[in-house]
Symmetry: C2
Subunit: 377 residues, 2 copies
């Protein structure tokens, strides 16, 4: 099956995202030239992964590397958002320092967004920067978090408040891993793919409406959808690596989404990131309706597609009780996308015509949230 | 008295080092254009400092800022190397997040190298990068650690093993603070100034030999010496921001120096950084003698100057017992300047002609250390 390559061209650094089937087993050939060959010693690298991913894929990767005389130090953390914390970060760093890995040595992040964020952050601050290779194992990580160089951990005061911009040497997205991904995780990642269409590519949204079943199955259409998503994100990141401008468009659905993740205390039984984004996208469109920016038919069309693929679309789809609107607002205010106490939202003028709206009135948001909590659509 | 400005020109960022008398009191005018003016709100910024510095200078700075309606959040840590740790870092980060400072807001580092490294590291990883202003209050920080953008904390496995390259918005070096600096601290900073001469500016070393008494006193020669030092370091950093090449020359005396700091467990009663560097510089020259690179007269001249100003020059000048040579070697091996198990040292071919020597034999170093432990010069 065809392998696709998307190149991320940044000012001072350029790297490839390689997308295709069977890439974990072929990883050695892809990464070998990034590895620091010691004159008289074995190549050594660390693999940061979580327990779930380790069970499926670690052995394959380690075996293939060992066959090529690359010695690996596996660092296995608990699966889930709680691993993006200071204690776990310190633990990962200590293990890498104890193994005496050096500045030119590499850390592989084998896992989803949590692993990429954690391992990437560790790589960026150990010895002021080690080499770093992403091997994303979820759809979300393959199309979103592994592209663009955001790393970080959570603080008790909010998500991703501590981190760096740090680019990998390369990203290797093996689409075979998606076979072992729970379908709920796949759907959640798919919400971010739809988001790319809704930002400024209505044709991509239409293409997804027609082809989503093939995107959900192994094959060339799936690889194409992932490659198009990576290309889209890479283009935005290329123009705005440090999120001072248009990169903020990628936050479509995310201000409401993060609010919901905080409200559900990141309890994955209730809500996972992509589900929060799906509901957030619908809320951003409904809020745009209220400001007379779009007609309800736009929102309805997106909502219908989310329902078809099995994604939640409203507050009432979240199991359990949510806090009141005033409490939800405090979660928005601590979000790092708040600039100087004016609320910034990504709103939209039509299907696939999103824009950055600054100076959104907190009162208007509060009233809107009260309505949405009151009754389901 | 004249103010001198050294501009650090990096690829993507350019900033000024401002050196002169009375600058803390004038800080507002120097930093105002770096501060994020909120439309309807006060400017707020954090000042990270230590207890010793706070007692002398915090009130002046806060009062001047308050007169200009700039609200400050002071974050005061214990003085000393032990503040470069994960728990203190977390504490600083938490206080900044609790105060709801945002990405465009600033953190001022008011203190010596420890404060600059700690606050700079915090600034680099909070919200993926806040603004950062250095106000160095020791000679060492003014001529060395505040220039060049290295930030970090220590790990149980070694010094500065966790950190980032992160540049400030500006550096404000008020030479008046040097009046309150203990003379031992001043001398230690002076060792780094001598180092700049010994790297590749023999004329600057000669100038220091002649003018050192004026450098040790308030006045234009002191300001000139600091400005020349900053300019020298800025030039090296400009050509090699991320230490992939010639920046390593700045490590003259530091491989032995760090070894001695580890050996004395960073106990400032026994040894402080600049003193370790002074002894390290002499050791690097003596080791160069052994390799027949220089004649003993070069070392003798430097040693005489160090003795004149009151700096230590040999292992026997360190109070207390040192570990044996084998143990000292293990400290060198964990140093981050070790690349791929070959030892790298900065050695010299003449007075002020240092070079990067790779593939130095660990056995030669071991034998040399045994000799030096055995008897004083």
């Amino acid at each position: 099956m065809q392998t696709k390559i998307v190149t991320v061209k940044l000012n001072k650094h350029c790297y490839d995202i390689i997308i295709g089937s069977g890439l974990i087993a072929q990883a050695v050939s892809k990464i070998k030239h990034y590895l620091h060959q010691k004159s008289s010693h074995q190549i050594r690298l660390a693999i940061v992964t979580d327990k779930n991913v380790a069970a499926f894929h670690l052995n394959t990767l380690q075996t293939k590397l060992a066959e090529n005389e690359i010695y690996t130090i596996p660092i296995i953390v608990e699966a889930g958002e709680q691993s993006k914390s200071f204690p776990i970060l310190q633990n990962v760093i200590d293990k890498i320092l104890v193994a005496r890995l050096e500045r030119g040595d590499s850390i592989i992040a084998l896992g989803g967004g949590v692993i990429g964020d954690l391992a990437g952050f560790a790589a960026s601050i150990i010895r002021r920067g080690m080499h770093f290779i992403q091997m994303p194992t979820t759809l979300l990580a393959q199309i979103d978090s592994s592209v663009g160089g955001k790393t970080g951990i959570n603080s008790p005061y909010g998500k991703n408040l501590i981190g760096t911009f740090y680019q990998p040497q390369c990203v290797i997205a093996d689409t075979d891993v998606l076979n072992t991904l729970p379908s709920r995780e796949f759907r959640a990642g798919y919400a971010e793919m739809v988001k790319y269409g809704l930002i400024n590519q209505p044709h991509f949204f239409e293409w997804l409406e027609k082809n989503w079943q093939k995107v959900f199955s192994k094959g060339p259409i799936q690889i194409e959808a992932i490659a198009r998503s990576c290309q889209f994100k890479a283009d935005i990141v290329t123009h705005d690596e440090h999120e001072t401008g248009q990169r903020a468009l990628l936050n479509l659905g995310h201000t409401f989404g993060h609010m919901l993740e905080t409200a559900t205390t990141y309890d994955s039984n209730r809500l996972i990131h992509g589900e929060a984004v799906a509901i957030g996208i619908i809320l951003a469109h409904q809020f745009s309706e209220q400001l007379n920016l779009i007609s309800p038919t736009v929102t309805q069309r997106i909502k219908a597609h989310f329902k078809t693929v099995g994604l939640p679309t409203q507050l009432q789809d979240i199991p359990g009780k949510l806090p009141d609107a005033e409490t939800l607002m405090t979660f928005i205010a601590q979000d790092k996308k708040v600039s100087q106490n004016n609320l910034t939202f990504i709103l939209t003028r039509a299907l696939g015509q999103s824009f950055i709206a600054k100076n959104v009135s907190p009162n208007a948001v509060l009233t809107f949230l009260k309505q949405k909590l009151m009754k389901s659509d």
